[in-house]
């Protein structure tokens, strides 16, 4: 049986490859905030309090562009609502925890951490303390995100734009789902989501980020009905 710290460490290791996108993205987020004219403390506060990459950038861009607080807050809420789906999946593994522990661990639910935890825990059903894996991924991503936004705030965007490191973001998510391309039902759901996102891309408040998954999940639901 694996000790708690070993499980935590496994989670840490699992998300390390994603640092290739997380760290440059964090640096860019910090740098953009300062460039937009926000107080460095405010920029960092978005990493600590909101803690959600794309939503922080859009939040600061909207406010600096003169949008109302309501619009900025709504956008953040819409973009980050996908965490509801992650929570629904992870709740299976976190069920036995006390309420306080659930409140604590929830803060660390992040895209890549969710994906890697879900993959690992599904493959290791008898894992005694799966929440340590979730924590290992989440705390590692949290720490690197905080550090990289601070670096971006202090040093500015020193990563040359020609490198096109923004492209690492779709790649890191591709790496997460590429293995499920072996399953036709998953390929179907992915294509529905992907094409929906292209069609819905200009929907208000960046809502394609939650609308496309919902369309794809409805498609999955219908698909499951036909399978039976």
């Amino acid at each position: 049986m694996l000790s708690k710290s070993k499980i935590f460490f496994k989670g840490t290791v699992a998300v390390l490859p994603h640092m290739l996108s997380v760290i440059p993205f964090g640096i860019i987020t910090g740098a953009i905030g300062v460039e937009l004219g926000f107080d460095p403390i405010l920029v960092y506060a978005t990493s600590l309090i909101i803690f959600g990459g794309a939503s922080q950038i859009i939040f600061m861009q909207l406010l600096s562009g003169g949008a109302s607080s309501l619009v900025a807050i709504t956008s953040v809420g819409v973009i980050n609502s996908r965490h509801l789906l992650y929570g629904a999946v992870l709740s299976e593994y976190l069920e036995k925890l006390s309420f306080i522990k659930k409140l604590f661990i929830s803060y660390f639910i992040v895209d890549q951490g969710f994906a890697e935890s879900n993959k690992y825990i599904k493959q290791n059903k008898n894992l005694s303390n799966p929440h340590y894996y979730v924590l290992g991924t989440g705390v590692t991503l949290w720490f690197c995100w905080q550090l990289s936004t601070i670096i971006g705030i202090i040093l500015g965007s020193f990563i040359p734009e020609e490198l096109g490191l923004k492209f690492a973001i779709p790649l890191t998510f591709l790496a997460i789902i590429v293995n499920d391309l072996r399953k036709l039902d998953h390929v179907f759901v992915m294509l529905v989501s992907g094409f929906a996102s292209l069609i819905l891309f200009n929907a208000p408040f960046k809502s394609y980020i939650i609308l496309s998954p919902l369309v794809a999940l409805i498609a999955a639901f219908i698909m499951l009905r036909f399978k039976k």
Binding site: P17, L20, L42, T46, I49, I50, F51, G52, I73, V76, G77, L84, L85, Y86, G87, A88, S91, E92, L94, K102, L103, S106, Y107, I109, D111, A115, N118, L163, G164, F167, I169, P170, L171, F173, L174, A175, I177, V178, N179, D180, L181, R182, D185, H186, V189, M190, L191, S193, G194, S197, L198, F201, Y208, I209, S212, P213, A216, L217, A220, L224
Partner: protein, 105 residues
């Protein structure tokens, strides 16, 4: 006002993380819903991948010759056969850089 917006945004975001974990009893979810939840990663991540590959910074469709498309194809093939996260990301980035720094110069 900005502080206020950050704090409210933080509360909203935290709520989205916490609600399903701490407030919802799993018994409330039917078997059908649980089955559909198996598809969450496949339903969420393409909505980040597709626009990241097929749109440029101005929200317009890229040309069919865009280096991002070829980088993504390489990453897809390498990832599919290697089953390795790091190989997927690195192969995609390297092939992308190869195209923009050597082929397009």
């Amino acid at each position: 006002m900005t502080w206020f917006s950050i704090i409210i945004s933080g509360i909203v975001t935290y709520f989205s993380r916490m609600a399903m974990v701490a407030l919802i009893d799993r018994e409330m979810l039917g078997t059908k819903v649980k089955e559909v939840l198996n598809y969450v990663p496949s339903a969420v991540f393409p909505a980040i991948i597709f626009p990241g590959v097929f749109f440029n910074d101005f929200g317009l469709f890229v040309e069919i010759t865009d280096p991002k498309i070829y980088g993504a194809i390489v990453a897809l093939v390498v990832g599919f056969y290697s089953r390795s996260v790091i190989a997927t990301i690195v192969s995609g980035l390297l092939s992308y850089w190869f195209i923009i720094f050597f082929l397009l110069r």
